[in-house]
């Protein structure tokens, strides 16, 4: 199998777009944030989550695939599971912060207008149930759905990666089949107190496995299709279509111009189960992006793109930081001011903090690598990404 990706080093575009996705997820997570009007979810069907999951699949396959070839299934599998554990711990940490915020609201806010909304505090009455359900990943407060998805995807990744290495088409086919069966039989994981996972892992695995498949030679196989002007034309046309449809959601009175049969056909655009329209929208975005941002684009190495790239490299830490910062920003908006200048300030400040922390993390890694007595770094390239798959 031809895997030139490994020999030519890390593709900076992955870090760039994952970094941008992390910023967008942060902005989208601040409620009532007018700055979030600039994020891609308002201009098409898919949003930053798709980018994040795809790139995560790509980098996971890139890093652990190399390790699996060099050091075997057991070692690579163990590292993947350790990564899943780290993400689990990060998720529990975020849950603790969420508990702190919601408890504060419970004791400080009593407005008769919002008596009904205060039902959100119901679960505080049964902490012994709620906290256990949270540890079981069944109780997931809003904005805290992505990490549990990631945990499941990584838990299932060792065998998937093994199959991808030896029978890549079969692995991708199995992933598509699981996606189709999930839609057909409505499979999902149960949630507490009711319902199912907001990001259905059986559906979203398709994007993750597709990313991994691309990393392990799939991208090369698709190269001819990706370079074809027909593909580009279809992608652009679809992006325009999605843009127009999305506009009708936000511009008053536009909804009536969408023909009834089309509404019947496309709605609802299901985020839970990664609607095929969303998947296609991500693919179209990827086609256009790959076309206009080549791998050796000189700007990728410039200082202009260092901020998103450095964030994309430390995706787990920066993702968690982003969720925390969105809680903090909401808190500041409630306590100080919810005016637009404040939203703008908090949005910019949040991104600056994300970049600064990512910079410090890079420094840490470098310092650790050099310091005497630290464990030797066998594969510096994998380490750069290894913790960050």
């Amino acid at each position: 199998m031809n895997v030139p990706v490994v020999t030519t080093g890390r593709d900076l575009r992955l870090d760039l777009f994952r970094g941008i996705a992390l910023w967008l997820i942060f902005l989208d997570h601040i409620p009532s944030n007018l700055v979030a009007w600039g994020t891609i979810r308002n201009y098409g069907f898919s949003d930053a989550t798709e980018i994040f999951v795809f790139v995560s699949g790509y980098t996971a396959a890139f890093v652990y695939g190399k390790e699996m070839r060099e050091r075997g299934f057991i070692i690579a599998g163990a590292h993947i599971l350790r990564r899943a554990w780290q993400i689990y711990v990060a998720h529990v940490f975020l849950f603790a912060i969420y508990l702190a915020e919601i408890s504060y609201v419970a004791t400080s806010f009593e407005n008769p207008l919002y008596a009904e909304e205060m039902n959100i505090l119901d679960f505080l009455k049964q902490p012994e149930v709620t906290i256990v359900q949270a540890l079981l990943l069944k109780f997931k407060p809003s904005n805290m759905d992505v990490l549990p998805l990631y945990i499941i995807l990584l838990l299932l990744f060792p065998p998937t990666l093994w199959l991808l290495q030896f029978r890549s088409s079969l692995a991708l086919g199995a992933s598509v089949l699981l996606y189709v069966l999930t839609w057909h039989f409505n499979w999902n994981m149960p949630s507490y107190p009711s319902g199912h996972w907001y990001f259905n892992p059986f559906a979203w695995q398709l994007l993750f496995v597709f990313g991994a498949w691309c990393a392990l030679g799939g991208a090369q196989r698709l190269a001819r299709v990706l370079q074809s002007p027909v593909t580009l034309a279809i992608a652009v046309a679809y992006l325009l279509f999605a843009f127009v449809i999305t506009l009708t959601w936000y511009l008053p009175g536009m909804g009536q111009y969408v023909p009834h049969w089309l509404e019947e056909l496309i709605y609802p655009i299901d985020k839970v189960n990664l609607d095929v329209l969303r998947f296609a929208h991500f693919l179209a975005l990827a086609v256009v992006t790959v076309r206009f941002v080549p791998r050796d684009w000189p700007l990728l190495k410039s200082w202009w793109f260092w901020p998103p790239i450095v964030c994309g490299r430390h995706s787990l830490e920066i993702f968690c930081l982003g969720v925390f910062l969105s809680f903090a920003a909401h808190f500041a908006m409630v306590e100080v001011s919810g005016a637009f200048w404040m939203q703008l300030l908090l949005s910019v400040l949040g991104v600056v903090i994300m970049v600064a922390v990512a910079g410090v993390l890079t420094w840490y890694k470098r310092a650790e690598g050099r310091s005497p007595g630290s464990r030797p770094v066998k594969t510096p390239d994998a380490d750069l990404a290894g913790g960050e798959a």
Binding site: I30, N111, P112, N119, S191, G195, H196, Y198
Partner: protein, 256 residues
């Protein structure tokens, strides 16, 4: 600090957004609502018929905790009572009756199951169905939520009643904890597909908050803010009903 600026902004927005003839612009209330949030192409045919033929209008408000207010003044100042008062004032020759059937802590599915009985008991011309908040809090499966909405709406349509759907309140203090998006989207889709008006309370209250008409971040047990907001919601729905059922021509006063 933010009040004078906000008030100024509110005035500016109100001037920009209030369409002539909405009936609200002239009153200079803080509750101005942009026309596109109130007026659409979906009609209330049963309401038109009931008013023109029988000069009477029975409205049932089906909902949960955010359709009532606590306290001794609660029943009088919650939006269903305000709606009744405004409609009686704007349609003086019509016998308007608004009944409130509120059950707290109910999901859309719970409420949908009561619709058949409601038709028999109250024989409403119009049902205003407020829902979604508890579904969002409990994170009910959005598909199930939508199915419940459709079931309820179809029951009401078959029983000969018009429907207005009303979505959740805009609640800036809790909106990081309650993910309203999928539920609001589903309500919009159901309204579009069944060609019924949606009173987009979420967008309306968001508008009031953005323009500074109301400080919805405020905390405190005081009932004044809640009563003013409910009064404005009642007025908004009244305008929506008068427009969607073409009642402006019924009495000259209605078009004020």
């Amino acid at each position: 600090m933010k009040t004078p600026v906000a008030a100024g902004l509110a005035g500016l927005f109100a001037a920009l957004l209030a369409l002539p003839g909405t009936g609200l612009a002239a009153e200079r209330q803080p509750c101005e609502i942009p026309g596109h949030l109130l007026f659409g192409s979906n009609e209330l045919k049963h309401v038109t018929e009931a008013v023109q033929k029988d000069r009477r209008l029975t409205i049932a408000v089906v909902g949960t905790g955010s359709s009532i207010l606590a306290g001794p003044d609660g029943p009088r100042s919650a939006y269903p009572a305000r709606l009744e008062a405004v409609l009686r004032q704007r349609l003086p020759s019509v016998a308007v009756k608004v009944v409130t059937l509120v059950r707290t802590r109910m999901t859309a599915e719970d409420l949908a199951q009561g619709m058949a009985k409601l038709l028999v008991d109250e024989k409403p011309d119009l049902v205003i169905w407020q829902t979604g908040t508890l579904d969002a809090i409990r994170r009910i499966e959005p598909d199930d939520f939508r199915a419940a909405l459709e079931e309820g709406v179809e029951t009401l349509h078959k029983g000969g009643a018009d429907v207005i759907l009303m979505n959740m309140q805009y609640s800036p203090r809790t909106d990081i904890m309650i993910s309203l998006g999928p539920y609001a989207d589903n309500m919009r889709v159901v309204a579009q597909q069944h060609e019924i008006p949606l009173f987009d309370r979420l967008a309306v209250m968001r508008h009031w908050s953005d323009t500074g008409a109301f400080d919805l971040y405020a905390a405190g047990k005081d009932n004044v803010l809640a009563q003013r907001v409910h009064d404005c919601i009642g007025r908004g729905i009244a305008s929506m009903i008068i427009d969607a059922a073409h009642l402006r021509s019924v009495e000259p006063k209605a078009g004020q």
